[in-house]
Protein backbone atom coordinates (compact mmCIF):
# COMPACT_ATOMS: atom_id res chain seq x y z
CA UNK A 1 0.00 0.00 0.00
CA UNK A 2 2.43 2.61 1.20
CA UNK A 3 4.97 1.31 -1.30
CA UNK A 4 2.89 2.23 -4.30
CA UNK A 5 1.91 5.42 -2.57
CA UNK A 6 5.53 6.42 -2.29
CA UNK A 7 6.39 5.50 -5.88
CA UNK A 8 3.33 7.36 -7.12
CA UNK A 9 4.20 10.41 -5.12
CA UNK A 10 7.81 10.33 -6.25
CA UNK A 11 6.66 9.95 -9.87
CA UNK A 12 4.41 12.96 -9.50
CA UNK A 13 7.16 14.89 -7.82
CA UNK A 14 9.56 14.18 -10.66
CA UNK A 15 7.00 15.27 -13.20
CA UNK A 16 6.25 18.43 -11.32
CA UNK A 17 9.92 19.31 -11.07
CA UNK A 18 10.40 18.54 -14.75
CA UNK A 19 7.45 20.69 -15.65
CA UNK A 20 8.85 23.39 -13.46
CA UNK A 21 12.37 23.19 -14.84
CA UNK A 22 11.16 23.29 -18.45
CA UNK A 23 9.74 26.71 -18.23
CA UNK A 24 8.31 28.40 -15.23
CA UNK A 25 6.45 30.94 -17.29
CA UNK A 26 4.68 28.44 -19.45
CA UNK A 27 1.03 29.23 -19.80
CA UNK A 28 -0.53 26.15 -18.38
CA UNK A 29 -4.12 26.42 -17.44
CA UNK A 30 -4.74 22.78 -16.68
CA UNK A 31 -4.51 23.36 -13.00
CA UNK A 32 -3.57 20.45 -10.82
CA UNK A 33 -3.13 18.31 -13.91
CA UNK A 34 -1.58 15.57 -11.85
CA UNK A 35 -4.99 14.61 -10.62
CA UNK A 36 -7.50 16.22 -12.85
CA UNK A 37 -10.94 15.22 -11.77
CA UNK A 38 -13.53 13.04 -13.32
CA UNK A 39 -15.95 15.89 -13.51
CA UNK A 40 -13.75 18.40 -15.29
CA UNK A 41 -15.00 21.93 -15.05
CA UNK A 42 -13.30 24.75 -13.25
CA UNK A 43 -15.14 25.78 -10.20
CA UNK A 44 -12.77 23.78 -8.06
CA UNK A 45 -9.21 23.36 -9.15
CA UNK A 46 -9.28 19.58 -8.91
CA UNK A 47 -12.90 19.18 -9.94
CA UNK A 48 -13.48 17.35 -6.69
CA UNK A 49 -16.09 17.92 -4.04
CA UNK A 50 -14.84 20.03 -1.13
CA UNK A 51 -16.95 18.09 1.30
CA UNK A 52 -15.65 14.75 0.17
CA UNK A 53 -12.05 15.93 0.39
CA UNK A 54 -12.74 17.19 3.88
CA UNK A 55 -14.31 13.89 4.89
CA UNK A 56 -11.34 11.86 3.69
CA UNK A 57 -8.95 14.20 5.47
CA UNK A 58 -10.97 13.80 8.63
CA UNK A 59 -10.91 10.02 8.31
CA UNK A 60 -7.14 10.09 7.77
CA UNK A 61 -6.88 12.08 10.97
CA UNK A 62 -9.13 9.61 12.80
CA UNK A 63 -6.64 6.83 12.00
CA UNK A 64 -4.21 8.52 14.37
CA UNK A 65 -6.89 8.82 17.05
CA UNK A 66 -7.89 5.18 17.02
CA UNK A 67 -4.26 4.16 16.52
CA UNK A 68 -3.41 5.85 19.82
CA UNK A 69 -6.28 4.20 21.65
CA UNK A 70 -5.50 0.77 20.20
CA UNK A 71 -1.81 1.17 21.11
CA UNK A 72 -2.75 2.09 24.66
CA UNK A 73 -4.84 -1.03 24.87
CA UNK A 74 -2.09 -3.19 23.36
CA UNK A 75 0.36 -1.90 25.95
CA UNK A 76 -1.96 -2.52 28.86
CA UNK A 77 -3.97 -5.55 27.77
CA UNK A 78 -2.17 -7.92 30.14
CA UNK A 79 -2.22 -5.64 33.15
CA UNK A 80 -5.17 -6.88 35.16
CA UNK A 81 -5.89 -9.00 38.18
CA UNK A 82 -5.76 -12.77 37.87
CA UNK A 83 -9.41 -13.49 37.15
CA UNK A 84 -10.61 -10.38 35.37
CA UNK A 85 -8.73 -10.59 32.11
CA UNK A 86 -9.91 -10.99 28.54
CA UNK A 87 -9.81 -14.80 28.63
CA UNK A 88 -12.33 -14.90 31.45
CA UNK A 89 -14.59 -12.20 30.08
CA UNK A 90 -14.78 -12.45 26.34
CA UNK A 91 -17.83 -14.10 24.87
CA UNK A 92 -16.61 -14.54 21.32
CA UNK A 93 -19.78 -16.00 19.78
CA UNK A 94 -21.82 -13.07 21.11
CA UNK A 95 -19.37 -10.40 20.00
CA UNK A 96 -19.00 -12.14 16.65
CA UNK A 97 -22.74 -11.83 16.21
CA UNK A 98 -22.80 -8.11 17.00
CA UNK A 99 -19.75 -7.60 14.78
CA UNK A 100 -21.60 -9.35 12.00
CA UNK A 101 -24.52 -6.99 12.53
CA UNK A 102 -22.23 -3.99 12.18
CA UNK A 103 -20.57 -5.38 9.06
CA UNK A 104 -23.98 -5.99 7.54
CA UNK A 105 -24.89 -2.37 8.16
CA UNK A 106 -22.00 -1.41 5.89
CA UNK A 107 -23.65 -3.36 3.11
CA UNK A 108 -27.00 -1.63 3.58
CA UNK A 109 -25.11 1.69 3.65
CA UNK A 110 -23.63 0.88 0.24
CA UNK A 111 -27.11 0.11 -1.03
CA UNK A 112 -28.36 3.43 0.33
CA UNK A 113 -25.58 5.35 -1.42
CA UNK A 114 -26.21 3.59 -4.69
CA UNK A 115 -29.95 4.26 -4.41
CA UNK A 116 -29.27 7.94 -3.72
CA UNK A 117 -26.99 8.10 -6.71
CA UNK A 118 -29.84 6.74 -8.84
CA UNK A 119 -31.98 9.49 -7.28
CA UNK A 120 -34.12 6.77 -5.78
CA UNK A 121 -34.68 8.60 -2.52
CA UNK A 122 -37.41 6.24 -1.34
CA UNK A 123 -35.10 3.23 -1.31
CA UNK A 124 -32.23 5.29 -0.07
CA UNK A 125 -34.25 6.26 2.97
CA UNK A 126 -35.25 2.65 3.57
CA UNK A 127 -31.66 1.45 3.43
CA UNK A 128 -30.52 4.31 5.64
CA UNK A 129 -33.15 3.31 8.18
CA UNK A 130 -31.98 -0.30 8.10
CA UNK A 131 -28.40 0.88 8.53
CA UNK A 132 -29.34 2.98 11.53
CA UNK A 133 -31.30 0.08 12.95
CA UNK A 134 -28.37 -2.33 12.58
CA UNK A 135 -26.09 0.27 14.12
CA UNK A 136 -28.49 0.57 17.03
CA UNK A 137 -28.53 -3.18 17.39
CA UNK A 138 -24.74 -3.26 17.53
CA UNK A 139 -24.75 -0.52 20.10
CA UNK A 140 -27.33 -2.36 22.18
CA UNK A 141 -25.12 -5.44 22.01
CA UNK A 142 -22.15 -3.42 23.19
CA UNK A 143 -24.07 -1.93 26.08
CA UNK A 144 -25.28 -5.40 27.04
CA UNK A 145 -21.72 -6.67 26.89
CA UNK A 146 -20.52 -3.80 29.07
CA UNK A 147 -23.16 -4.52 31.70
CA UNK A 148 -22.19 -8.19 31.75
CA UNK A 149 -18.54 -7.26 32.26
CA UNK A 150 -19.52 -4.78 34.91
CA UNK A 151 -21.53 -7.35 36.80
CA UNK A 152 -18.57 -9.70 36.70
CA UNK A 153 -16.58 -6.99 38.43
CA UNK A 154 -14.89 -5.16 35.59
CA UNK A 155 -15.43 -1.45 36.16
CA UNK A 156 -13.87 1.44 34.29
CA UNK A 157 -11.33 1.94 37.06
CA UNK A 158 -10.69 -1.70 37.96
CA UNK A 159 -7.39 -2.15 36.15
CA UNK A 160 -5.26 -0.74 33.38
CA UNK A 161 -6.77 -3.34 31.11
CA UNK A 162 -10.32 -2.32 31.97
CA UNK A 163 -9.64 1.42 31.63
CA UNK A 164 -8.07 1.04 28.22
CA UNK A 165 -10.65 -1.49 27.04
CA UNK A 166 -13.60 0.67 27.98
CA UNK A 167 -11.93 3.78 26.59
CA UNK A 168 -11.22 2.19 23.22
CA UNK A 169 -14.56 0.46 22.75
CA UNK A 170 -16.32 3.44 24.31
CA UNK A 171 -14.79 5.79 21.78
CA UNK A 172 -15.86 3.44 19.03
CA UNK A 173 -19.33 3.30 20.52
CA UNK A 174 -19.53 7.08 20.58
CA UNK A 175 -18.56 7.12 16.93
CA UNK A 176 -21.33 4.63 16.15
CA UNK A 177 -23.80 6.76 18.12
CA UNK A 178 -22.82 9.88 16.23
CA UNK A 179 -23.21 7.90 13.03
CA UNK A 180 -26.71 6.86 14.02
CA UNK A 181 -27.64 10.45 14.85
CA UNK A 182 -26.30 11.51 11.47
CA UNK A 183 -28.29 8.77 9.74
CA UNK A 184 -31.52 9.69 11.49
CA UNK A 185 -30.98 13.39 10.85
CA UNK A 186 -30.22 12.65 7.22
CA UNK A 187 -33.38 10.60 6.81
CA UNK A 188 -35.37 13.46 8.31
CA UNK A 189 -33.72 16.08 6.18
CA UNK A 190 -34.19 14.02 3.03
CA UNK A 191 -37.87 13.61 3.82
CA UNK A 192 -38.37 17.32 4.32
CA UNK A 193 -36.05 18.26 1.44
CA UNK A 194 -33.85 20.25 3.72
CA UNK A 195 -30.47 18.97 2.66
CA UNK A 196 -28.50 22.03 1.62
CA UNK A 197 -26.57 20.98 -1.45
CA UNK A 198 -26.70 17.64 -3.09
CA UNK A 199 -28.70 14.73 -1.63
CA UNK A 200 -26.57 11.95 -3.04
CA UNK A 201 -23.43 13.59 -1.80
CA UNK A 202 -24.84 13.99 1.70
CA UNK A 203 -25.69 10.28 1.74
CA UNK A 204 -22.24 9.45 0.46
CA UNK A 205 -20.55 11.51 3.18
CA UNK A 206 -22.47 9.81 5.96
CA UNK A 207 -21.67 6.55 4.21
CA UNK A 208 -17.93 7.20 4.24
CA UNK A 209 -18.07 7.95 7.94
CA UNK A 210 -20.13 4.87 8.62
CA UNK A 211 -17.78 2.59 6.69
CA UNK A 212 -14.84 4.03 8.58
CA UNK A 213 -16.47 3.24 11.91
CA UNK A 214 -17.00 -0.24 10.53
CA UNK A 215 -13.38 -0.83 9.50
CA UNK A 216 -12.18 0.43 12.84
CA UNK A 217 -14.33 -2.27 14.41
CA UNK A 218 -12.75 -4.87 12.12
CA UNK A 219 -9.41 -4.00 13.68
CA UNK A 220 -10.73 -3.76 17.22
CA UNK A 221 -12.54 -7.07 16.94
CA UNK A 222 -9.40 -8.79 15.66
CA UNK A 223 -6.74 -7.34 17.92
CA UNK A 224 -8.85 -7.11 21.05
CA UNK A 225 -11.16 -10.05 20.96
CA UNK A 226 -9.84 -12.74 18.63
CA UNK A 227 -6.15 -12.29 19.36
CA UNK A 228 -6.60 -13.47 22.96
CA UNK A 229 -6.90 -16.96 21.58
CA UNK A 230 -3.24 -17.18 20.73
CA UNK A 231 -2.46 -17.80 24.36
Amino acid sequence: MSDSLITETVKDAVEIVKDHADDVHVHDVHAGDDHSGDHGGHHTSLGLSNTKLAMWLFLGSECLLFGGLISTYMLYRNRHSENLGPDQLWDIPFTSATSFVLLTSSLTMVLAVSAANRKDLRNAKIYLSVTALLGGLFLAGQIYEFTVFYREGLGFTTSLFSSSFFTLTGFHGVHVSIGIIMLVALIGMLSKEKVSGDDAEAVEMVGLYWHFVDIVWIIIFTVIYLIEFIK
Binding site: M1, S2, L5, E8, T9, H35, G37, D38, L46, L48, K52, L53, W56, L57, L59, G60, S61, E62, C63, L64, F66, G67, G68, I70, S71, M74, L75, I92, P93, S96, F100, S106, L107, M109, V110, G207, L208, H211, F212, D214, I215, I218, I219, T222, V223, L226, I227, F229, I230
Partner: protein
Protein backbone atom coordinates in the same frame (compact mmCIF):
# COMPACT_ATOMS: atom_id res chain seq x y z
CA UNK B 1 -15.76 -16.65 12.64
CA UNK B 2 -15.49 -20.37 12.38
CA UNK B 3 -11.78 -19.88 11.99
CA UNK B 4 -11.59 -19.32 15.72
CA UNK B 5 -12.49 -22.89 16.38
CA UNK B 6 -10.02 -24.59 14.09
CA UNK B 7 -6.64 -25.21 15.65
CA UNK B 8 -4.05 -24.10 13.17
CA UNK B 9 -1.38 -23.51 15.75
CA UNK B 10 1.34 -20.96 15.04
CA UNK B 11 -0.40 -19.86 11.84
CA UNK B 12 -3.31 -18.49 13.79
CA UNK B 13 -1.98 -14.98 14.33
CA UNK B 14 -0.75 -14.28 10.79
CA UNK B 15 -3.91 -15.75 9.27
CA UNK B 16 -6.07 -13.69 11.58
CA UNK B 17 -4.20 -10.47 10.87
CA UNK B 18 -4.14 -11.29 7.16
CA UNK B 19 -7.91 -11.71 7.12
CA UNK B 20 -8.27 -8.46 9.04
CA UNK B 21 -6.18 -6.59 6.51
CA UNK B 22 -8.05 -8.15 3.58
CA UNK B 23 -11.42 -7.25 5.04
CA UNK B 24 -10.21 -3.76 5.93
CA UNK B 25 -9.09 -3.01 2.41
CA UNK B 26 -12.14 -4.63 0.84
CA UNK B 27 -14.30 -2.12 2.65
CA UNK B 28 -11.99 0.80 1.90
CA UNK B 29 -11.47 -0.05 -1.75
CA UNK B 30 -14.99 -1.08 -2.71
CA UNK B 31 -17.51 0.15 -0.16
CA UNK B 32 -15.75 3.48 0.19
CA UNK B 33 -14.99 3.66 -3.53
CA UNK B 34 -11.30 4.36 -3.13
CA UNK B 35 -10.55 2.03 -6.00
CA UNK B 36 -12.79 3.95 -8.38
CA UNK B 37 -12.60 7.44 -7.03
CA UNK B 38 -10.00 10.10 -7.57
CA UNK B 39 -6.61 8.86 -6.37
CA UNK B 40 -6.14 11.88 -4.15
CA UNK B 41 -8.83 10.75 -1.69
CA UNK B 42 -7.06 7.46 -1.17
CA UNK B 43 -3.67 9.07 -0.82
CA UNK B 44 -4.82 11.47 1.86
CA UNK B 45 -6.38 8.60 3.79
CA UNK B 46 -3.38 6.32 3.35
CA UNK B 47 -1.00 9.01 4.62
CA UNK B 48 -2.97 9.05 7.87
CA UNK B 49 -3.21 5.27 8.00
CA UNK B 50 0.48 4.82 7.19
CA UNK B 51 1.58 7.38 9.76
CA UNK B 52 -0.60 5.77 12.40
CA UNK B 53 0.80 2.31 11.74
CA UNK B 54 4.36 3.63 11.64
CA UNK B 55 4.43 5.83 14.74
CA UNK B 56 2.44 3.56 16.99
CA UNK B 57 4.31 0.43 15.93
CA UNK B 58 7.58 2.27 16.55
CA UNK B 59 6.40 3.55 19.94
CA UNK B 60 5.20 0.11 21.07
CA UNK B 61 8.45 -1.46 19.93
CA UNK B 62 10.48 0.89 22.13
CA UNK B 63 8.71 -0.71 25.08
CA UNK B 64 9.94 -4.08 23.79
CA UNK B 65 13.53 -2.96 23.38
CA UNK B 66 13.47 -1.44 26.83
CA UNK B 67 16.81 -2.44 28.30
CA UNK B 68 17.19 -0.33 31.40
Amino acid sequence: MAVSYIDIGPLFLPVLLGLMVVKFFMVVLYFMHIKFDNKLFGRLFYIGLGLAVFVYAAALSTFQFFAG
